[in-house]
């Protein structure tokens, strides 16, 4: 065939063709924990990783595999692994690559849970992280030590919306033979495919735009297959002998897919953050319309930006597509279709004004999620990032009055009308 299908087509089809037995057009939900082996020999083959297949849903499942293969196709990766959440994906990557005594360089402007994992949880297991400004390539270069095993950042920072200069950082990582791991949740492969810019590993929260409807949790690791893990001293967990499977070296036996093989054999096997097949099905339904939704998300975002920038009640607005954003030029270069549908803004009147606004809008939902088809709002200072110290908040570009807006797909005039309702309440408060 060799059709080399395009993004919109892959969003609908990749990972599944109707099976000959049932002809089911949709991806079937294989709601099963386990799979009958035809022989003891076949069972042994699967356990020994001699051939591909499914042996237990904690490790892999046909519905989940269809999702994984769709993600690998959309990102242009060698392989992918889906799991229970974006945070599970993040932990699977860190624990697959790092051991006690290792070091990570990470962006200081990230989602609170990403920071928590690296700042508080991983040090208890002997893995330390230095946080640096993602917009300062020299700082990243300086922070890299001989025991640094990965550099981590978010393409679009949450919630500060800083844009990482991926090609620049990738060059640094490449010269030091360190994998660049990116959380690409906010951009999705529709807006930007990080492997094309030199990144090596992508983590996603599928719960957000990829799933897109706020109905199913999920995460994924996508492996670019473009990193050389051959240095056994530096990456013993990938290229050295594994504790099981006859001392397998994942790098020697799986090459470009070594990381995913390692995660499946250890992370999924030992920690077990598997994705439910039903959630995989829901997430795939979302991905089918990803290109259409992202286009509308960006259209609505640009319209709302215009509305907020010119609104008398708005103190400030932050979005990388605005030329006032410090990373606007980087955004134009690596995110030409748009820099996502999250907007940060402050309302005149500070913290109390923000509170009044959030409590007065009706259409926009006040909740802890982003990337839903519906418009969402939250006050990060008192919720998602509340456990961070004031210094860490400041370092992450957060202010007390900041509202994080996730622009949905509603009629744009209805969103604006809803916001006017909120601004009216603020006006009353300010009087």
């Amino acid at each position: 065939m060799s059709e080399n299908y395009k993004f919109d087509t892959l969003s609908l089809h990749a990972g599944h063709i109707p099976d000959k037995e049932t002809g089911s057009r949709a991806v079937p939900i294989y709601q099963t924990t386990s799979y009958v082996f035809n022989s003891t020999e076949e069972a042994a083959s699967l356990y020994n990783m001699e051939v591909g297949g499914h042996l237990y849903t904690r490790i892999s499942n046909p519905t989940v595999a269809a999702l994984e293969q769709r993600l690998a196709a959309l990102e242009g990766g060698a392989s992918a692994l889906a799991c229970s959440s974006g945070m599970a994906a993040m932990h699977l990557v860190v624990s697959a690559i790092c051991s006690s005594g290792d070091h990570i360089v990470a962006s200081s402007k990230m989602y609170g849970a990403n920071i928590n994992l690296l700042q508080h949880t991983m040090p208890r297991f002997g893995v330390k992280t230095d946080f640096v400004n993602p917009n300062d390539p020299d700082a990243i270069k300086r922070a890299i030590k001989p025991n640094t095993k990965l550099v981590f950042g978010e393409v679009i920072g949450n919630p500060g919306l800083d844009i990482m200069d991926v090609p620049e950082i990738a060059k640094i990582c490449n010269s030091k033979n360190i994998p660049l791991v990116l959380d690409a949740t906010f951009n999705t492969p529709y807006l930007m495919q990080p492997f094309k810019y030199g990144a090596n590993i992508i983590v996603h929260s599928l719960t957000k735009w990829l799933g897109g409807h706020g109905i199913a949790m999920g995460g994924a690791v996508v492996n670019g297959g473009n990193f050389d893990w051959g240095d056994k001293d530096k990456f013993p967990t990938i290229s050295g002998p594994h504790f099981a499977l006859g001392g397998i070296s994942f790098w020697e036996e799986f090459g470009p897919s070594a990381l995913i093989a390692k995660i499946r054999a250890e992370g999924m096997y030992n920690f077990g953050p598997s994705l439910s097949p039903t959630n995989a099905f829901h997430l795939m339904q979302g991905i089918e319309t990803l290109p259409l939704r992202m286009k509308k998300h960006i259209e609505n975002t640009h319209s709302i930006l215009d509305f907020l920038v010119n609104h008398e009640m708005v103190e400030w607005v932050k979005h990388p597509d605005l030329d006032t954003h410090p990373d606007h030029e980087v955004a134009k270069r690596i995110l030409p279709k748009g820099s996502g549908s999250i907007i940060a803004f402050g309302i005149k009147g500070g913290r109390e004004a923000g509170k009044a606004f959030i409590e007065s809008v009706q259409l926009a939902s006040h909740l802890a999620n982003v990337g839903d088809a519906k418009t969402l709002l939250i006050h990060p200072g008192s919720t998602t990032h509340s456990h961070l110290s004031s210094e860490a908040m400041k370092e992450g570009g957060l202010t007390d009055d900041m509202i994080r807006l996730s622009v949905g797909l509603e009629d744009i005039n209805d969103i604006k009308k809803d916001f006017e309702r909120g601004f009216k309440a603020v006006k009353k408060l300010n009087k």
Binding site: M1, S2, E3, N4, Y5, L10, H13, A14, G15, H16, I17, A44, S45, N48, M49, E50, V51, G52, G53, H54, S60, N61, P62, V64, A65, E68, Q69, R70, A72, A73, G76, G77, A78, S79, A80, L81, A82, G224, G225, N226, G230, L245, G246, G247, I248, E252, E253, F254, G255, P256, S257, I260, R264
Partner: protein, 265 residues
Amino acid sequence: MIINFKGVKTYIGTGGKSLDINKMTLCFLHGSGQNHLSFIQQARFFAYKGYSVIVPDMPAHGFSDGNPCKSIKENAEWINDLLVDLKLKEVVVIGHSQGCLVALELNRILKRSLEALIFVAGSNEIPVNQFLLDLSKENSQKASQMMVTWGHGIDGDMSINKWPGHSHYGEGNNIMCMNKPTALRYDLHSCNDYSDGIDAAKIIKVPALAVLAKNDQMTPLKSGLKFVELIKNCETHILDCGHFLPSERPIELNSIINSFLSKLK
């Protein structure tokens, strides 16, 4: 395992088991621009079935250093010397694509007999179009991408894979990128220039198996069927997939090879 062969670092996949020269050895020969990873789902499978397995990365391919061989004959001589160096006793050679041409030539120049020959997506000739030959010189990465796209059947297009989560295209491109940039160019020229396939096929005396692919656009089925006609009593199977048969239909291919090998014992 890594050995020093002819003064050059040479990688040989063994399917996760130590090489035992007293067992029957299956020697897998990769195709143009490929390396040992094109047999991911064969190497471990057969090593765990009690065979010794060797999947050498030809010079300048995969984890092997050195300069690429410049003809099918040079490839065959290199393999011949390797088999002697490793002191292997009973050897079955399994070639994929270009590896089939190398296997044909190896059988012709070998001083002793092989146990059997297995041809996967093979033919007695593999002409390469001029555009791809030129592209492999100018930009081996683009040429690799073209081969990966062109070489796979619908499973490649649709990202269908027996190995959960793996992408034929993504994995295939990166496997080819592991080789030295000149490797593909010399491989493709070696295939294009090889013209002794008919004679080499006719002199095969050992048991032979051919597994061909219905939607093969690199060594078309028509060419593969003509090829097997040249070989005396060649057991032939056709699978519904593209040229990258070892990764597109691993279970079926392994089963056919396993059954063929069991008849040799």
